[in-house]
């Protein structure tokens, strides 16, 4: 077992005082970010990324990934206590979490959701530990056509699983367009800079993320008029132990939700879809399913386990293939490139210490995270009682600073505001934002893979079907792309059959 040896070494890396400290800071910051409106996983990580430029990559990614875990945990706090999902993936948690809080069982609901999150994440980390190296080893054989095919599969599955294909495509293509701005790395030509020298270096994805998710979210919360009226959270050891005692009863739900989450995380379905699916399936299969929505513990566990499993599993394709499974993973991937690491399967060969340090830190930080959230919930719930008139300007100031520090340029701050407005409008019109971030981060890499394969094949598109591996992936991608049309046709076919019968 190579993996176990490597993992043990990874624990050695992650367990230094400095890295454990970074873990704790990351989780606490993550919870704060997750609890606050307008700050979430992607832009929280994006704002703090510039601060890590000078840090060791391993410590930096440990801290940033811990912020991510923190935001995942935090979603449950606002959902249960305030009936306001801090993140979209915790919407499903409000269905049973808030009724439980109203019945005075907030402590039970929170304990159940945190523990469910922990179990989901743990399963996903186990999966990463054993599956990621295999995937990476397999992917070492990939050439440019294979990589382009995998990118294509990622993008196509977004289109295929999205609610509105046309809007998903626009969002994704805008991301590609933004990625193309600036100096073309292959030919040195200037693309879409319109004679503006400040656009030479392109539009940084961090600035876009901070604008879309940060300022955009603030504008949205302002419009909807936030009023936080929360229930009190009391968690003591007795409640925790009592809740834990009844958890084994829900083993089937835990396993189902973990599996759904892992699958949705690896394929870019996302934590939000995973949490709804986890909830829906638990409702269908549970003997108490009809009572869901009135304050069932199982209804809290199911979505939280799936969301956390999916959020964690999203790092698997990021580490093994260099393809992020979620918006936050996309930002982390951007971080890798900034720290001078080349994402992709070679990471497992060339940066063993980094990869296994990160994986080991996932085990540790989820345990640490569980302890921290269980002990400090009242503190974080108090943050939400700070008036919005103080929180909102501080978040905007932090967004502005975050955008400025990327390149020390005022233009970026203006771009951040522009993307804030765009994000607000796009969100209201139901344009998905994750595809935009994904293609903005991956755009250059996808284009390079495409151009390299075209160079090798002298412009023959048939290179994408030149061997069984690349052919399978490309075909799969096209199936995913036309999935909505295919499934509609299938349904019509079956419908007409039934009509005949």
């Amino acid at each position: 077992m190579d993996e176990l040896g490597a993992l043990l070494h990874g624990f050695g890396v992650a367990l230094s005082w400095y890295n454990v400290g970074m873990m704790a800071i990351g989780i606490v910051l993550g919870i704060v970010i997750g609890v606050l409106p307008g700050l979430g996983g992607p832009n929280g990580v994006a704002i703090l990324l510039p601060l890590t430029f000078t840090m060791q990559p391993t410590s930096a990614i440990i801290m940033l990934s811990c912020i991510y875990w923190g935001t995942l945990f935090a979603g449950a706090i606002t959902s249960v206590l305030f009936n306001i999902p801090g993140e979209t993936h915790s919407v499903a948690t409000t269905f049973d979490g808030y009724p439980m809080a109203q019945q005075g069982r907030a402590g039970e609901a929170l304990t159940a959701s945190f523990t469910g999150s922990f179990i989901g994440a743990f399963v996903a980390v186990l999966l990463i530990t054993f599956l990621a190296p295999l995937v990476a080893k397999f992917a070492l054989r990939f050439g440019p056509p294979e990589f382009f095919a995998v990118y294509l599969l990622t993008f196509c599955s977004f289109v295929g699983t999205g609610k509105d294909p046309a809007k998903t495509i626009i969002s994704m293509m805008i991301g590609f367009g933004l990625a193309a701005i600036g100096m073309d790395t292959v030919s040195g030509d200037l693309r879409m800079t319109f004679g503006w020298s400040e656009l030479l270096r392109g539009v940084d994805f961090l600035v876009v993320v901070i604008g879309l998710f940060g300022l955009g979210e603030i504008l949205l919360s302002m419009e909807e008029g936030l009023a936080f009226e929360g229930k009190n959270a009391k968690i003591n050891l007795k409640v925790v132990l009592q809740t834990w005692k009844q958890l084994p009863k829900y083993w089937a739900t835990l396993i189902r939700s973990s599996a759904i989450g892992c699958w949705m995380g690896i394929t870019p379905g996302g934590a939000t879809a995973a949490s709804f699916m986890g909830y829906g399936i638990a409702k269908k299969f549970s003997p108490r399913g009809s009572k869901f929505g009135t304050g069932e513990v199982e209804g809290v566990i199911a979505p939280e386990t799936a969301a956390h499993a999916s959020g964690t599993a999203a790092l698997l394709p990021m580490l093994a293939l260099g393809i992020p499974g979620s918006a936050t993973a996309a930002v982390l991937l951007g971080g890798l490139m900034i720290w001078g690491l080349q994402p992709g399967p070679l990471l497992f060969v060339e940066q063993k210490e980094f990869v296994w340090g990160l994986i080991a830190s996932m085990y540790l930080s989820n345990i640490a995270g569980l302890i921290i959230v269980l002990t400090t919930v009242p503190l974080f719930a108090a943050i939400l009682r700070i008036p919005f008139s103080i929180i909102a300007p501080i978040i905007i100031v932090v967004c502005a600073i975050g955008a400025f520090t990327v390149h020390s340029a005022m233009l970026d701050v203006w771009l951040m505001i522009l993307f804030g407005i765009v994000g607000y409008v796009m969100k209201k019109l139901d344009y998905p934002l994750a595809p935009l971030v994904l293609s903005l981060v991956l755009g250059d890499r996808a284009e390079n893979a495409f151009r390299q394969s075209m160079l090798a094949s002298r412009g023959e598109l048939s290179v994408f079907w030149s061997n069984s591996l690349v052919g399978t992936i490309t075909t799969l991608a096209l199936v995913m792309l036309f999935w909505p049309a295919l499934s509609a046709a299938w349904r019509r076919l079956r419908g007409s059959k039934r009509a005949v019968a």
Binding site: D164, G177, D184, S389, P393, V397, A400, I401, R451
Partner: protein, 169 residues
């Protein structure tokens, strides 16, 4: 889920979702056109050494145009009368957006720390009428903390103005 929110908003005194949806799609369409034109200029064809710089982006532009046309069509066929935002709510948005723009403008002249303190103070006074003492303590406190964190701890230089210059930074 979306329905409750939309039906609650009365149609009077509101911008309709159709209008905004169509305008946004047209904006995307125009972006697509700009991409096509600009990338055609630098060469979007096939050179002897493979695809030219504009090859990929030009096709992206074409896809945007097609998808935007589909969205315009869908939106026009979709239901009427849904409100995008009522004017009353739009005011809430502008109450944040306009001061934010002023704040970013002010960064250039005052530096980010002074501008931030004024920005936070303005919000606290205007929205919730906090007492002057609380306003001053919190706004200056936050700015001072940011200064400590960025200038002193992380050594990340942010835009500074005349006040910081007086203290020799």
């Amino acid at each position: 889920m979306d329905k409750d929110r939309e039906t609650a908003a009365p149609m009077r005194g509101a911008v309709s979702e159709r209008t905004v949806g169509v305008v946004m799609a047209i904006v995307f369409f125009l972006i697509g056109v700009v991409m096509i034109v600009d990338n055609y200029r630098i060469g979007a064809g096939w050179a002897s050494d493979g695809p030219q710089a504009g090859y990929f982006p030009l096709r992206i532009g074409v896809i945007i145009c097609i998808a935007a046309a589909v969205v315009v069509f869908q939106t026009l066929r979709g239901e009427r009368g849904k409100a995008f935002v009522t004017f009353a709510r739009l005011r809430h948005v502008l109450v944040v957006l306009v001061p934010t723009i002023v704040f970013v403008l002010a960064i250039k002249f005052l530096g980010i720390y002074v501008a931030s303190a004024l920005f936070i103070a303005a919000f606290m006074r205007a929205m919730d009428r906090f007492s002057w003492l609380k306003t001053i303590v919190i706004s200056i406190g936050v700015s001072a903390m940011l200064f400590w964190m960025f200038e002193l701890q992380f050594l990340v230089p942010l835009p500074k103005g005349p006040l910081e210059a007086m203290f020799g930074y």
